[in-house]
Amino acid sequence: MPTPPSEEQVLAWFDDLSNWGRWGSEDRLGTLNHLTPAKRVSAAQLVQEGLSVSCSWDIRTGQQPGATVESQRYMLSTGLGLSDEGRRNWMGRAGGAQEFIGMVFHGLDVTHLDSLAHLFWDGKMYNGAPASLVSDRQGALQHDVLAVSDGVVTRGVLLDIARLRGVDVLDANDQVYPEDLEAAEAAAGVRLEPGDVLLMRTGEGGARRSEGKKYNPNKPRSGYQAACLPWLHERGISMIGSDVAQDCSPAGYRTVTMPIHMVGIVAMGLWLIDNCQLENLAATCERLGRWEFQFALAPIRFQGVTGSPTNPLAVF
């Protein structure tokens, strides 16, 4: 196993890998600046079978596997009681149903996009914006999820590290290093390029699926080791996702417990999709024998919100 970078090295990456100012002082896109119109056109050529695969988990309005709090669902009107005496009159043929939904999507359950307002380091967001621009009253006044209101359409690549290792799920101490990403690239016959979305599979989604409500995500788990940060920076990756919340845990650092999140979002402006469901995608890639596809993601256009539940799609 490669030697992990020291904590001092990881802390130095806040400066060394910083994209602050690289695309201007008003930039809100961060690493999505790597995504060009030509890249979108090129990615569209990958649609050959006409097959679309979701990379999201269902959002239950009961309790999520591993969640301690249920999403709140209040039915405002339902189909119950329509046959009751007096409920229908001579005009009463139409009916309908509506609900109120409330949830916390950040965490280890819901498939969601982190906007660049999600995290702060030393009181700053990406590109030096003060953390105080996220307030109780107004939410995120800068770097909310509206930065990607036109969606993300580009080439997606699945690097299946569990498949590379020949295991169902990576052991918690089996962290993913750049060498693993490159080995998976070689196995898949692809190379990550600027503007690509990287989806990395640890196999944790298979455990979540098989264990159902007994699944416990609050445990040591595999994920990207911090050493991947310079690799992601050099390759110009626009967005990453995985079937965990990106960072391995324990990451091995005292002050930066989630370095992929912290350095990635705050310094690099890297967009993260946490808790993807990659089991169906991995099976499709295996069946078709290709690990690249058109990737499409459209977050909900929440004003002032630090991310969005999302349903990323891989189109073959």
Partner: protein, 164 residues
């Protein structure tokens, strides 16, 4: 893999999650291990938070986390189980808090210098060192008293000489 954390929190109950979130409010990273909710005598029964407990939670934004789940807004009233499950979910998404369930801290050695222990899931063992330990095993069962005890313990950790 070794785990090095400024603050280790063990034990169940609302005091554990309160301590984690209050510590996070002071930007102190912590590891909460083996938290189990609903261990008090009447965890489902909503109770009002005492003014002193509210005062301990407000500066750290903890009361805001609970707000959507309050049975009564003023005084803030909720059951101990709701208190700890909502705060635990928040802790899971909190960059300063690492939550491990289903694991156990064994071979614990506590000294003035800190804590050395082993964390295990029964198959794998991780060496664990922490500057300080909060063990909620003997925390009060009353929700407000548990919150106040958690706040006091966090303040004691913060006041230790040479803390991180």
């Amino acid at each position: 893999m070794n785990i090095d954390t400024p603050l280790l929190i063990v034990g169940g109950g609302p005091g554990a999650v309160a301590a984690a979130e209050i510590a996070s409010g002071y930007s102190v990273p912590c590891l909460m291990v083996g938290h189990v909710a609903g261990i008090g005598p009447d965890p489902e029964f909503p109770v009002p938070l005492a003014a002193e407990a509210v005062a301990a939670l407000v500066p750290h934004g903890v009361l805001d986390v609970l707000r959507p789940y309050l049975a009564v807004v003023d005084p803030p009233t909720l059951s101990p189980r709701v208190f700890e499950e909502v705060l635990k979910q928040h802790s899971i998404a909190d960059m300063n808090v690492t939550v491990y369930d289903g694991l156990e801290v064994v071979e614990r050695e506590v000294s003035e210098a800190g804590v050395n222990a082993v964390l295990t899931d029964g198959r794998t063992r991780w060496s664990l060192s922490a500057d300080a330990l909060i063990d909620t095993t003997d925390f009060p069962e009353n929700l407000s008293e548990a919150v106040l005890r958690a706040a006091a313990e966090v303040l004691a950790v913060l006041s230790r000489p040479g803390r991180a």
